[in-house]
């Protein structure tokens, strides 16, 4: 039983952790090298990792997806997709065309690098052609800027407060509703035992 409980909580923490890791915004300082769109028929697995088509366009199984190529200061490359999110994950991003134009504007070369911070969520999984979704591009001074993830801090604090309140509510419900009900049931049980005890001549 202990093992079951342990496994259960490990799984819960793992799933919640992965969920947050996928959905919370992350910040990369990169240099954008190319932007393009590519017709992308989505497979069964990776379709879960693509957002919706642009808000305002009709649904279709094949569509052009905008991509942004970028390079980290270390020389490692990353490819972002650039799609509207709609309301899940709740970035409410409707401006992927504008973002693409902005990305175009800050394209730069190795010789004359222009560093930008790309705010994105999601994972890059090459084997399933899954890309993180870029949400925002902000020019930064250089590759060594310090980024404080305020949004993540706020969201995690709010979640902790919410969890704490949920626990408080649960305990309050237990204390005020369940415990008195159990107590009165036990009382009734005692009385009943007394009655049957008398009836059958046993000492309860």
């Amino acid at each position: 039983m202990r093992k079951v409980k342990w496994t259960f909580w490990t799984l819960v923490i793992l799933i919640v952790g992965l969920f947050l890791n996928y959905n919370l915004p992350q910040h990369d300082v990169v240099r954008i090298t190319d932007t393009y769109n590519r017709q992308t028929p989505l497979g069964t697995i990776n379709s879960y990792f693509y957002a919706s088509q642009d808000a305002g366009t009709a649904p279709s199984s094949i569509r052009d997806v905008r991509f942004i190529d970028a390079v980290f200061p270390s020389g490692k490359v990353i490819v972002y997709r650039n799609e509207d999110t709609g309301f899940w994950p709740p970035y409410l991003k409707f401006d992927s065309s504008n973002l693409q134009a902005q990305a175009n504007n800050v394209k730069s070369t190795t010789g004359d690098p222009q560093w930008v911070m790309v705010t994105h969520y999601g994972w890059r999984i090459t084997i399933e052609s899954i890309y993180p979704n870029a949400v925002k591009i902000t020019p930064v001074a250089g590759p060594d800027v310090t980024i404080i993830p305020w949004v993540n801090i706020i969201i995690l604090v709010l979640m902790a407060v919410g969890l704490f309140m949920l626990r408080r509510m649960w305990l309050q419900f237990w204390e005020r509703m369940v415990d008195p009900a159990v107590a009165s049931a036990e009382e009734a049980g005692d009385r009943a035992r007394g009655f049957f005890g008398r009836l059958f001549g046993r000492k309860g």
């Binding site: 309301f87 309140m165 509510m169």
Partner: protein, 92 residues
């Protein structure tokens, strides 16, 4: 537009569940506080039924008070948060 409509409906349902939970919790906490207040002030329990009367009076005051009305923030704060997110993601 359909997306927005979905968001409105789902959001409203979720927020209503949260509102009800918070409302029940808040009422329960208030009732407990009133009971404890009475027990502390009137150690001998007062006359018969006076504890119930005290609590009911307190609850009546709560029902018309500011704190209960503030529960509406459960709907308002997420709406403001959404507006802020839309602004910062798309227009900032």
């Amino acid at each position: 537009m359909i997306v927005m409509l979905e968001l409105l409906v789902v959001g409203f349902v979720v927020l209503t569940v949260i509102y009800l939970l918070v409302a029940v919790y808040s009422r329960s906490v208030r009732r407990e506080k009133l009971e404890k207040e009475f027990d502390a002030d009137v150690p001998l329990g007062g006359g018969p039924g006076s504890r119930d009367a005290y609590v009911e009076q307190g609850m009546e005051a709560y029902e018309h008070g500011l704190r209960r009305k503030l529960l509406v923030l459960v709907y308002i704060l997420p709406a403001i948060a959404l507006a802020v997110i839309v602004y910062f993601v798309n227009f900032h």
